[in-house]
């Protein structure tokens, strides 16, 4: 399934999740190799965001197995275990979710200082480099409310990167942005993927997914309907559901 080398860094097997009577995930399995970028697409309510949240245990699963960077996520119980996992997995959200009472720089520095217990000066140097990487070094002292959506989202990406994660999860990160700022965020993500960061993206940006992804997944009604390399996936979808979905949005 994976085209990169070695064992998968994320491995998901037969994952089930229900909210009350509503079954969101009905047996999902896939692998992501280290350094790979995968995109998950699918209609709203097909379980994409829930799936992403299972990977860093924000959502506990009912059944199945998830392994991430040596952690058996389905077995984690204590705070300590959960925190050890989350140090390895960064997540970027649709609504950015920066901390509004902290500046851009402080947003990036908080978790490395208080979670990883790293030296403040070192963290600050790293945070400023990350700000430069997302081309916002001049906004270090700005509060989130003073930044555009695209700028906030790039700060959120830098905040995740500051933890030096093994895997980054992106949950529809451009869905809330103005069209003109979408591109700056996508450029940042593409650079990350090119540098070898393992990225799992839930997205509606088909053009971007096609260009970025090593592997595409299409989910519908809580299962993976179809998957494959993007060229093949977009050119010759095998399943009728996939063709229908792609016809609707392309």
């Amino acid at each position: 399934m994976s085209n990169a080398s070695g064992r998968p860094i994320v491995s998901i097997r037969d994952v089930h999740k229900s909210y009350g009577a509503v079954e969101i995930l009905k047996g999902v399995s896939f692998d992501v190799a280290k350094g790979e970028a995968v995109c998950i697409i699918g209609p709203s309510g097909s379980g994409k965001s829930t799936l992403l949240r299972c990977i860093n245990a924000l959502v506990p699963i009912d059944r199945g197995e998830i392994r991430v960077a040596g952690h058996e996520v389905h077995k984690l119980k204590t705070d300590k275990e959960l925190i050890a996992l989350r140090r390895k997995v960064a997540m970027v959200f649709q609504q950015y979710n920066l901390f509004p009472h902290k500046t851009a720089l402080e947003n990036i520095m908080m978790a490395p200082i208080h979670v990883l217990k790293e030296d403040k000066d070192e963290v600050e140097a790293r945070a400023r480099k990350l700000l430069a990487k997302v081309r916002l070094e001049q906004k270090a002292d700005a509060y989130p409310g003073e930044l555009s959506g695209g700028q906030q989202q790039r700060i959120a990406i830098a905040r995740g990167l500051a933890m030096r994660p093994d895997v980054m999860l992106f949950d529809e990160v451009t869905a809330a942005l103005d069209p003109e700022t979408v591109k700056e965020v996508l450029v940042t993500i593409r650079e990350l993927a090119e540098e070898g960061m393992t990225c799992i993206l839930v997205t509606h940006e088909m053009g971007f997914a096609r260009e970025l992804a090593d592997h595409m997944y299409f989910t519908d009604h809580g299962v993976i309907v179809e998957h494959g390399p993007p060229a093949e996936f977009f050119a010759n979808p095998r399943e009728a559901r996939t063709r229908e979905f792609l016809a609707q949005i392309l």
């Binding site: 909210y19 949240r53 860093n56 245990a57 924000l58 959502v59 506990p60 705070d79 959960l82 925190i83 989350r86 140090r87 997995v89 960064a90 997540m91 959200f93 609504q95 979710n97 920066l98 901390f99 509004p100 009472h101 908080m110 978790a111 208080h114 979670v115 509060y143 989130p144 409310g145 003073e146 959120a156 905040r159 995740g160 933890m163």
Partner: protein, 297 residues
Amino acid sequence: MSRRLGWLEPLPQTSDLPVLLPVVERPISGANTDRKFCPSLARLRGGYGFWIVAALLLSAGVAGAETGPVHPSIVATLIKWTPLLFGGFLFNLAISAFAMIGGTAAGVFLGLGEIVQFAPVRAVAWLVTHFFRNAPWLVLLFFCMYMLPFQVTVFGTTVPLPDWVKATFGLALPVMANVAEIVRGAVQSIPSSQWESAEALAFTRSQILWMIILPQCVKRMLPPWMNLYAILAMDTVLASIVGVNEVMTLTGDALGAESRPELLLPFYGYILLWFFLYCYPIARWTIRFERRFAVDR
């Protein structure tokens, strides 16, 4: 929905109690809700202070006209008693400050108790909060006066509990319950996405609360907290009913000593004016804070 991490309950987003709305929504949709928080006092204009003074002078004038030549003028009498009465007034303010400090400290813990994950603690905190929040302040005051002993013995040392301490305690109880609700409401008004993103960054539940959630709450809590203080300051005069030597008691004493019925209105008007001058600016500040925080960020 999120996996529980530690001792705090994932927060429901609704509340049946008045809480500050999330900042972004407030300038428009919050306009009417905000009214609940404005003490009615704050809706007065500064000009009304002038009318209180005018009424005071008028009553003094009328009373003065009725006064025989044997008595000193009303104004002279007011001035004569002012040092004593003002001392009493400062005592009221001291009671209000102590009750506010004690009530706030206890209320913060009680409010956090209302949102911990451990259900029995939550139930007890809820019960305590709502018991004291829905009890008349005067009844609580009487309750404390008679419930608390006049002295307590701690490790062989006998510490007297004067009436004013008991009254302060009695006033701190409703303050505590109201602060608890302010804290709970503010914590629950922070979007759950803040918890989620902080959890994803591997913060512990208590780090999230103290470093991310509560600092954002302070701004939201300040206006209702100041409003509560203004109400408390005005309600300290209830302590006169249980015999504390605060401004109302002293005013009664002064009037008794003078034995001149025409002094009643000027004296009480005078006290009214002091409270107005003290509480009105607090109410104005509260509104200013609310406006500033509503547009800020």
